[in-house]
Amino acid sequence: MRYVDEYRNRELILALSEEVKKISKKEITLMEVCGGHTMAIHRFGLHSLLPSNIRLLSGPGCPVCVSSQHFLDTAIAYSKISGAIITTYGDLIRVPGSVSSLEKEKAKGADIRILYSVLEALEIAKNNPGRPVFFPGIGFETTAPATAAAIVQAKKENIVNFFVLSAHKIMPPVMKALVDEGVKINGFIAPGHVSAITGTAIYNELAAGYGLGVVVTGFEPVDMMQAILMLVRQIESGTPKVEIQYRRIVHPEGNRIAQALLIEVFNHKDDRWRGLGIIRESGLKIRKNFAGFDAEVKYPVSVPEPPDPKGCICGLILRGLKKPGDCRLFATTCTPSDPVGACMVSGEGTCATYYKYRR
């Protein structure tokens, strides 16, 4: 596959590994924030290519993992509204709310449809006038612009039965929050596709203010090893900065059109991250002038705050303070087919990844 296979070249991976081992002296911790990176590290066995003084820590960049149970419970409540159609990305269908899941509700007869693109929801809305079509929106800056584009398109076409429940979040505040909380990180393997949208200025504070290296990284093993080499070089020479490894996709200024869509449709709000609590200015809320598409405005539902599932330590895992093996539910009561916490539900979650690759 073009632009994939070249970045899986074994020789290049091994050469990068040799170079890292040659120059890496300090004990360091690198955090990859994005669930896609967590998966890539495990799928390609990258731990075995690094010297023991480099520790890789998985952060909270899995949108499914950090979506609150309350959000799922709200989506489930919408599915029970007469005539309602729930349209969702496949990632969300099995995520447990406090009692049920969209998949379970579908099995009981709710009209829940899996989409490949949020624009399909607009078609469904047009084909089903009079029936409310809900779209629970999760994802970071990679995915939120698609939701924004759909809302702008819906306004253009005067669609009145399309409603977004936004749980979209942005990355920099949570990265900063982890460092502020004292999680020991020497550098960030920064999310490649988020950065393709946002550009790299969002990381300047981490580098300049906190002295942490940030390397924007692609998702193939060559990308990851090159990024780790770049971070090690920065750390060993004491020159933390923001660099782009993923240059074939990411430009410093990002995707201006996508950024404009985000600004047009969303503003920032304080938001609850599952397992991490409230992080300031980290969530995307639909602006007042698009309130006609905001599910929370047009269909306010009262859903009780669910208790955290007993024994689940996803919050500590998402912060990189504990590993899945430290959780007494891991691989016993909490498995991919019967997940308790978000870390196991999502294919990119740390626990799901460990379950697949590390038991």
């Binding site: 596959m1 070249e6 290049l12 490949y116 990679t142 995915t143 698609a146 988020v194 949208i197 240059r247």
Partner: protein, 78 residues
């Protein structure tokens, strides 16, 4: 969810395109990009092309990496 896949643009029709990944064709929205032409490669994510692949940067990355590989003493070991 972070994942996007490189896809080759086969045809463009206004703000939509048909793209190909390993000979399977998918619809992609071009609402986030301008100036996309057949033959370009784009990153496909949730039904949207979110960025174009820059072939020069791609080649430059590989060139740099091959330099590292060539200078590695083990590079001749297969």
């Amino acid at each position: 969810m972070c994942l996007a896949i490189p896809a080759k643009v086969i045809s463009v029709d206004g703000s939509n395109a048909m793209v190909s990944i390993e000979d399977v064709e998918y619809k992609a929205s071009l609402l986030m990009l301008d100036d996309v032409r057949p033959g370009d490669f784009v990153m496909l994510h949730a039904g949207f092309a979110i960025e174009k692949v820059d072939p020069e940067e791609a080649a430059e990355t590989l060139r740099l990496l091959n330099e590292i590989a060539d200078s590695s003493p083990d590079s001749l070991i297969l």
